[in-house]
Amino acid sequence: MATQPSRKCKKGEAIALPCMALLLGFMVWSAPVLAQASTDTSAPPIDSGLDFDSVKPVPLFTTGMGFIVPFEGGQPHLGPLISPVILAPLGSKWLIESRDTFESDLATPPGSNAFRGTVEKEVDYLQLDYIASPYATITVGRFLTPFGIYNERLYPIWIRDLQSDPLILPLGVGPSNAGTGAMVRGGFSLNPKVTLNYATYFSTLVTNETLSSARMAGMRAGIFLPGPRLEIGGSYQRLLQDDRSNSFGFHFAWQLPPVPLDIRAEYARTSQGSGYWLESAYRLTQVPVHRDFMSRIQLVGRMQEYYTGTDLDQAILPLNTKMFEFGLNYYLHDDLRFVSSFGRQFAQDDNENVWTIGLTYRFVLPMGHGEMH
């Protein structure tokens, strides 16, 4: 998905540029159409006296897509991505959910002007959830590894504020960012001002390329204060194969209630290395001039560092690396936005600029009419 500065393009099957243009055209065309559909006034009227406990949820099909063009060290890449999500509720306590990703990183091979690359397919998650109690949900299947907050909450391109992955994203999440096994998770209020959330999991080894995962166990816990909208937490993971190493992580998220400013940070320390990222995003909704235009703009900044571990063979980057990025996003619609960023990566004898421009888009469609109990 998103631009990883160290990523190299795989040569192989060529993908025609007209397909990308078609995707882009579809995104722009369908935004207002589907947005209208999702808020269709012909939908059943919402009765304020509706008994919400009797509402039967309807299966949903939602897709996020994007077309990202990063320039890494002056070399342009084309990054089309489609990520369909299916949510299928069963009864009042079950939910089947899955997300797949089809993406490509097209680049021009030496001596050629044509963009080439392969389509990479991956099952991000395919899981069955059972809401066992108000305090616990049991999940089995393939799930996103709950280590830190980025992988689970901020990874989709329609959510992330900067399209490049944090340098430390691969730390602690296992191969392909997912685990295969079982997980127990939940959230509950300790009191009206404090909410505790937790996730504990066990994953087994899967070597299939599309569904790969490592044998590992771990947990994440966090405390959320709804008043100041502040969350802090920590993650721990034990790898149950290879070097059987431990990984630690900490996360922090703060939404200042008086201003539309998000501040997020993560730190991770593993045998593959360690590092942190700190990101802030400010939506200009409080600027008093040209309010309609300014409120659609979001300014983003991120600072991050990665340090190689003691075992350089396992390092996710060959050198200690620093990177800063500034981004500007413009929301054409709630689900359609133009994204752009500029960053500079610092590593020994390997400094480079990273530019990114693109569009991201998401729509939601019900798969049926649903019914009342």
């Binding site: 999702s38 808020t39 939908a43 059943p44 919402i46 304020s48 509706l50 919400f52 509402v55 039967k56 949820p57 309807v58 299966p59 949903l60 949510l87 509720p89 939910l95 959910e97 959830d129 809401i131 108000p134 949900t137 689970e152 909450r153 959510i159 998770r185 959230g187 509950f188 209020s189 300790l190 009191n191 009206p192 001002k193 404090v194 909410t195 505790l196 996730a199 816990a221 405390i223 959320f224 204060l225 709804p226 909208r229 969350e231 802090i232 920590g234 721990y236 431990n246 630690f248 900490f250 998220a253 939404q255 998000d262 320390r269 929301y331 709630d334 939601v364 019900p366 009419h369 649903g370």
Partner: protein, 133 residues
């Protein structure tokens, strides 16, 4: 390894301290805005003034406020205000401006987010109402 254990212990201690601090705050008197909301809820009811007075003075927390609003039969208003608060606090951490969805779609979305974002059962119900009203 020793450093990891030390850091882990520090984090657990910090989390425990925050919980303790927040638990202590629970016993404090309500903030003016909470009282104002409680008063607002109470003033829009059709119940007698004695019930209102009793309800307002007992509103020392959000839970108490919930019970108050239920008592005074102005639950939709309380739910709307509280639902918006919960939406901004929970969903707003990752998502932009709130959407409105038909109830059956919203019910699926909040169930998904309950798992993904580990929101509480109570938050899920209030957010569901807010997203559909």
């Amino acid at each position: 390894m020793r450093a990891h254990l030390l850091v882990g212990s520090l984090v657990i201690a910090f989390l425990a301290s925050v919980s303790l601090l927040a638990a202590q705050q629970k016993s404090e008197s309500p903030k003016p805005e909470t009282m104002a909301l409680a008063s607002n809820v109470a003033s829009n009811t059709r119940t007698d003034s004695a019930t209102n007075s009793k309800a307002v003075t007992s509103a020392k927390s959000t839970d108490a406020l919930a019970k108050t609003s239920a008592t005074v039969k102005n639950e939709p208003m309380y739910d709307r205000i509280e639902g918006e608060k919960r939406f901004r606090a929970n969903c707003g951490r990752c998502h932009q401006a709130p959407h409105k969805f038909p109830p059956r779609e919203a019910a699926t979305i909040v169930r998904h987010m309950r798992v993904r974002a580990t929101i509480t059962d109570e938050d899920m119900r209030l957010i569901l109402k807010y997203m559909t009203q």
